[in-house]
């Protein structure tokens, strides 16, 4: 129990960040992390004894998040893409940064989930490519190609959206 706590407790802030970046909803993201921690506790003994708890725990969270996103898609729930106060952003940074970060978060939301996950795991959560491959359960070559597409597409989306001249896009309504 002590090794579980020592290995997993420091990960919780990053788990919350990854969950919120994927779900863009604070309460839903924390619910997801809660489920993830419960599973982590109950399955702790099942993990391979290679000591890499981080990729293992992130994989649990990632699978829960993908299930949740699929449920949302089935129910036709639409996530507001243009909330002025994006819940993914915890607190407002400086005005200019806020605009740019808001654009970036919205553009990120337009990426396919598999590209978004790779980019978040590698660029934000600092997982190695090998760790990301374990979390996503894909070969490392797939991680690299998804990362490549994600960066290129995000770049294009941001280029298409100069913050100064950006019109308010309409939120999709079911």
């Amino acid at each position: 129990m002590h090794d579980l706590q020592a290995a997993v407790e420091p990960l919780i802030p990053a788990l919350r960040r990854y969950a919120r970046a994927l779900l863009r909803d604070r309460a839903a993201a924390d619910d997801l992390v809660h489920d993830c921690l419960e599973r982590t506790i109950s399955r702790w003994h099942q993990r391979r004894g290679d000591g890499d708890a981080r990729a293992w725990v992130f994989a649990i969270l990632h699978n829960l998040a993908m299930n949740r996103l699929r449920q949302r898609a089935r129910r036709g729930a639409h996530v507001a893409l243009d909330d002025a106060d994006d819940p993914a952003l915890a607190r407002p940074p400086a005005q200019e940064d806020q605009l740019r970060h808001g654009d970036l978060v919205r553009a990120l939301a337009e990426l396919p989930a598999d590209q978004r996950s790779v980019l978040l795991l590698v660029a934000v959560e600092d997982l190695s490519y090998a760790e990301a491959a374990r979390v996503l359960d894909v070969p490392i070559g797939t991680v690299m190609s998804r990362l490549s597409r994600a960066r290129e597409r995000l770049h294009r989306l941001m280029d298409d959206l100069p913050a100064s001249a950006r019109p308010n896009r309409l939120r999709s309504v079911p």
Partner: protein
């Protein structure tokens, strides 16, 4: 290009992600110096990475909410597994304690509980050896029902993986299943006012045919089991109390259906629950 290895797209990503060792990083840097177009793209991707990190950085700096306290989650899990008393001093190191499929988070149990558990395990399988307060034989009546409920409680209540086969969300399917197997309409008593939530249930085997098991728990993780089955004898019997070790129960029969409510709880706590179950099931029995 001291290594002679060509620069790959993967190298460029690893450069952006600062994942290269120093020699390779120097090689990529030299390559970018000679290819300004690619260098611009790589620089843009590095900026994008920095922006992404900045956009989400604040989330990881928030204080972690109490609901995500790992220590509490572990502790709660232990309580649920233990079905109650988390205050035991023994470390659960004894080999005879009931345990879940994973043995890692066995609850701490006092030594006397380990001893009882050992006795119970030895005694399992021998329904005939049980005697209610040493007075009546179990037979086929209420005493047998009480024993079956106690046995079911001991098997399923500590189970952390599949304590129930159908969960509360599938209540409709569960009721249909149990009612069909018992050939008797079964309902799920609502005990929320008494602080117990319905978890779900399953059909269980008894020496007297199938029985329906419904499980509840409260906020402290105390689990309570209700067993229901048709009665061949003692078909209308007043409620009686029974105890086996720390597991207590109340059992009765009404119009050919036997009920037993069992938990590791005090009689003071359990008796009102049994009364409430009886009140609700009586209301559901056709006059």
């Amino acid at each position: 290009m001291t290594s002679g290895r060509p620069i790959t797209e993967a190298d460029l990503h690893a450069y952006v992600d600062q994942a290269l060792d120093a020699p390779r990083r120097a090689e990529v840097q030299a390559y970018l110096d000679q290819h300004p177009e690619i260098a611009r793209r790589v620089a843009a991707e590095a900026r994008q990475r920095g922006d992404l990190r900045a956009a989400f950085a604040a989330i990881a700096e928030e204080p972690v909410p109490a609901t995500l306290s790992l220590a509490q989650l572990i502790d709660r899990r232990s309580r649920i597994v233990g079905g109650g008393d988390p205050d035991g001093a023994a470390g659960g190191a004894g080999g005879n304690a009931p345990r879940g499929i994973d043995g890692h988070y066995r609850p701490r149990r006092p030594a006397w509980q380990l001893a009882i558990a050992a006795v119970v395990l030895v005694g399992l399988g021998g329904l005939g050896g049980w005697a209610a307060r040493g007075a009546t034989r179990p037979g086929n009546g209420i005493a047998a029902l009480a024993q079956e409920a106690t046995d079911s409680y001991r098997v399923y209540a500590p189970d952390r993986v599949h304590p129930v086969e159908l969960r509360a969300v599938d209540q409709g399917a569960l009721i249909a299943w149990v009612s069909d197997r018992l050939a008797h309409p079964v309902s799920v008593p609502d005990l929320t006012k008494a602080g117990f939530r319905f978890m779900g249930g399953r059909v269980v085997v008894t020496a007297h045919g199938p029985a329906g098991l419904l499980m509840y728990d409260d906020d402290r993780g105390t689990r309570m089991v209700m067993l229901v089955r048709p009665m061949a004898v003692e078909r209308d019997t007043a409620m009686s109390a029974h105890a086996s070790g720390s597991v207590r129960g109340f059992s009765w029969a009404r119009r050919g259906v036997g009920y037993s409510v069992v938990a590791e709880a005090s009689a003071d706590r359990l008796h009102p629950l049994a009364d409430e179950v009886r009140r609700q099931t009586d209301a559901g029995v056709p006059g």
